[in-house]
């Protein structure tokens, strides 16, 4: 797993889980991998995964049931919110990149539309 070591790892694990929820890899009600399994999968300290799970729980995305494990909580609405958040991040990255190349609003939108059209063909 590619993490950026210049930022806290636990926030990146939170993003990873959120992304899995957003794209439907993890469905509402589904159990998350155990702390140890995910730690082994992404090759980090189990305490870091534990911290990410605790924070996700605090933010309401997951719920831990004692002795059972951690489950995705919320409903269709929270999944949509997560998807929109991720989409906004992707768009922001695109726009910043285009602006740094000197493109204006019009080109930014038309080029995105062109690419999207080509992809759907």
């Amino acid at each position: 797993m590619e993490f950026d070591d210049r930022a806290p790892i636990y926030t990146q694990i939170m993003d990873l889980v959120k992304r899995r929820i957003a794209v439907g890899e993890l469905k509402v009600g589904q159990q998350l991998p155990s702390v140890r399994d995910l730690a082994q999968q992404v090759v980090v300290n189990p305490n870091t995964v534990q911290k990410a799970y605790l924070e996700l729980e605090r933010e309401g995305y997951v719920a831990t049931q004692r002795g059972m494990g951690t489950f995705v909580s919320g409903d269709r609405g929270t999944v949509d919110v997560l998807r929109q958040e991720l989409a906004r991040d992707i768009v922001a990255t695109y726009v910043t990149g285009m602006r740094s190349l000197g493109y204006g609003l019009e080109e930014i939108t038309t080029m995105a539309a062109e690419t999207a059209r080509k992809e759907t063909k």
Partner: protein
């Protein structure tokens, strides 16, 4: 959070040199601490003191509330920085040897670890490559159900594949009722396993903290911070 290791004002002087100078640090139970620093910064001396092999000149060291000695040796599993196994033994015999010495040695775990590390119990230590000897040593050390694991350069002499096998074993071995203190030069490869890091320089603690906290406060990886701490001495 309870502290498994409490070190306060620890100094170790040899006849002509001071290896450790007024070191104070704590290792919480369930944490992995990275001990970082260039050669000669005092890492090995500190680890030998935790292992009960070197006695402090002054200051106090407590492991689970007890000063290092016979009692703590039973709960501390130590990986020295040099090979401590006899060449004539087979890997399996080395396991028997450990089992005789340490009541917390778990033979089943040892077998599992040999599997993870891709080793066979029948091989003679003398016929193993350097990396395989390292993996054997680590399997032995991790097979003890110790409270504290003290690992001096556990990744030295390992190729990338072996390194990831060892990291797998390390995560598989990890329990919340034990702690680990490990030194390494391969900061970039291992930094995601540290809860806490301590930077030693000429026997003194120059920087210490939680790894995640240091990352977010400095917008830097632990490796970046390592370079910053030791790389620019002349410009300060």
């Amino acid at each position: 959070m309870s502290m498994l290791v409490q070190i306060s004002n620890l100094t170790k002087r040899y006849i002509t040199t001071t290896a450790l100078s007024d070191v104070t640090l704590e290792v919480p139970e369930g944490h992995i601490m990275g001990l970082l620093g260039p050669n000669g910064s005092g890492k090995t001396t500190l680890m030998k003191i935790l292992a009960g092999l070197v006695s402090p000149t002054s200051g106090s060291v407590l492991i689970d509330g007890i000063a290092p000695g016979v009692v703590t040796k039973a709960i501390v599993s130590f990986l020295p920085d040099v090979n401590h196994l006899d060449r004539w033994m087979s890997v399996g015999e080395a396991g028997n040897f450990y089992a005789d010495f340490y009541s917390d040695f778990d033979r089943k775990r040892f077998q599992e670890l040999l599997g993870i590390m891709d080793l066979s119990a029948r091989q003679k230590i003398g016929s193993l490559s350097r990396g395989m000897v390292e993996k054997t040593r680590l399997s032995l050390v991790f097979s003890r159900r110790a409270r504290l694991y003290v690992l001096d350069e556990p990744f030295g002499g390992l190729d990338p594949l072996a390194r990831s096998q060892v990291l797998d074993a390390l995560v598989a071995n990890f329990r919340t009722d034990c702690s680990m203190v490990l030194s390494t030069q391969m900061v970039a490869d291992v930094e995601r396993f540290f809860d806490d890091v301590v930077f030693l320089d000429q026997g003194c603690v120059v920087l210490a903290g939680e790894a995640e906290d240091l990352r977010s406060r400095r917008n830097a990886s632990i490796e970046d911070i390592y370079r910053e701490v030791y790389g620019h001495v002349e410009t300060r």
